[in-house]
Subunit: 220 residues, 2 copies
DNA sequence: CAATGTGAATACGTTCACAGCC
DNA sequence: GGCTGTGAACGTATTCACATTG
């Protein structure tokens, strides 16, 4: 009942397990051992078992884990058993990509509001949602019950938008703008800068002058 | 000269420092202490100093780090002092978003080739690059000198495209499709699934029933 | 004297190895 | 027999604390 302080690295890996379990389930695989799941994720089997042990005893000794059951449990852990209402701020290419991506995964993301700064985008529709100006944020967030704000704008507007979202009452923010935003401590924020991965790849390529030491493809 | 096995977590943080240094430089801030930089990144000052110490002694005792100088060093570490030639596979919303994002950062990314599966996209232009069919990949990757392949397609095509890229001769792959791809050990791969961040945010919101323990906004 | 650079101390995460169970 | 669940052993990362230096 009382959460025993789960390290965030465990949560990250759990998300990867969950993704792989979805794929396994789609392939109608019913049972998976920690060894095989670990292999898919590129890590150690004992780690998989330990990580899962934070949340309960989901396996069967001598058998492994039932995919459907474990998937159900992980989905519950991530709150995938209930719908979350998202509001998108910034309806450019990235915004569209996010909405499309969300559709692919059946993770019960529902975009219930969309905002943009550019006049020509106001009133257009993204899926079934009409794009509103930023000034309507306060009202619309409340009316439509947005819980998570997704920022997909240029970095210079990110902090301002974040402040607006907070005062409109969202409880979490996902920031895809390449600028680190600061929020009050009670708001949950994830900053994602997806050019960081490219930088990291560049580092690895650059430093690969030293003889080809094996580097695994890494999840997350 | 011989690299002393730098932990990849250090590289990740270094990328974050670099990003923040860029922002500081844009604000014409000339000197920064490890304490202040650490604060911007949400970590411990000693960590910043230790991380930087892997690469050299860039600071001045009693003063701090000169932003421009440190930025120069980090850019060099990440191979940002030379141009890298990228090939984009998948010219949908995500593909466009990536190209736009790359333009924003002056990180010397150059998209020199673009490919798509959809017939109606072939021959269109993304920036100044003409979109080619997947079958031309082998030839065009060689002709244009693509070093890094960027996959921005549906997950079911990701592995196939990765194989094609590898046999065409790229040395690194950045995979934005939500499927974990496997490549030969000599190819550097970064898999980025950007809905994982949303899952992690959901977890934090879900588990926040336990009283509002402070969670910092996290970079990367 | 303020802030770096770094050994030493600590905390944390990973892996091992095996008891327990199906 | 095979695979989980887990304490104990190990290794790595983080933080402390201070000597060092411009």
């Amino acid at each position: 009942m009382k959460p025993p302080r789960i390290p965030s690295i465990v949560i990250n890996r759990l998300a990867v397990y969950a993704r792989n379990l979805e794929l396994l389930d789609q392939e109608d695989i019913e049972v998976i051992s920690s060894a095989r799941l670990a292999d898919l994720c590129g890590i150690n089997p004992a780690q998989v078992r330990k990580d899962l042990a934070y949340f309960g005893q989901f396996g069967v000794r001598g058998i492994g884990y039932y995919v459907k059951e474990l998937l159900f449990e992980t989905r519950k852990i991530f709150g995938l058993d209930r719908e979350w209402r998202l509001g998108l701020v910034g309806v450019g290419n990235l915004g569209w990509a996010l909405v499309r991506h969300a559709q692919l995964m059946d993770h019960k993301y529902t975009f219930v509001a969309a905002f943009d700064k550019k006049k020509r985008r106001i009133g257009t529709k993204i899926e079934s949602v009409e794009v509103a100006p930023l000034d309507d944020m306060n009202r619309l967030v409340k009316e439509t019950g947005v819980e998570i704000g997704v920022i997909a704008m240029k970095p210079e507007f990110a902090q301002g938008v974040a402040n607006k979202l907070v005062s409109a009452g969202v409880c979490g923010i996902l920031n895809y703008a390449p600028a680190h935003i600061q929020c009050p401590a009670h708001i949950f924020v994830e900053n994602i800068d997806f050019s960081l991965s490219l930088d990291i790849l560049r580092y690895r390529l650059t430093s690969a002058k030293s003889k080809g030491h094996r580097i695994r493809s890494k999840p997350l």
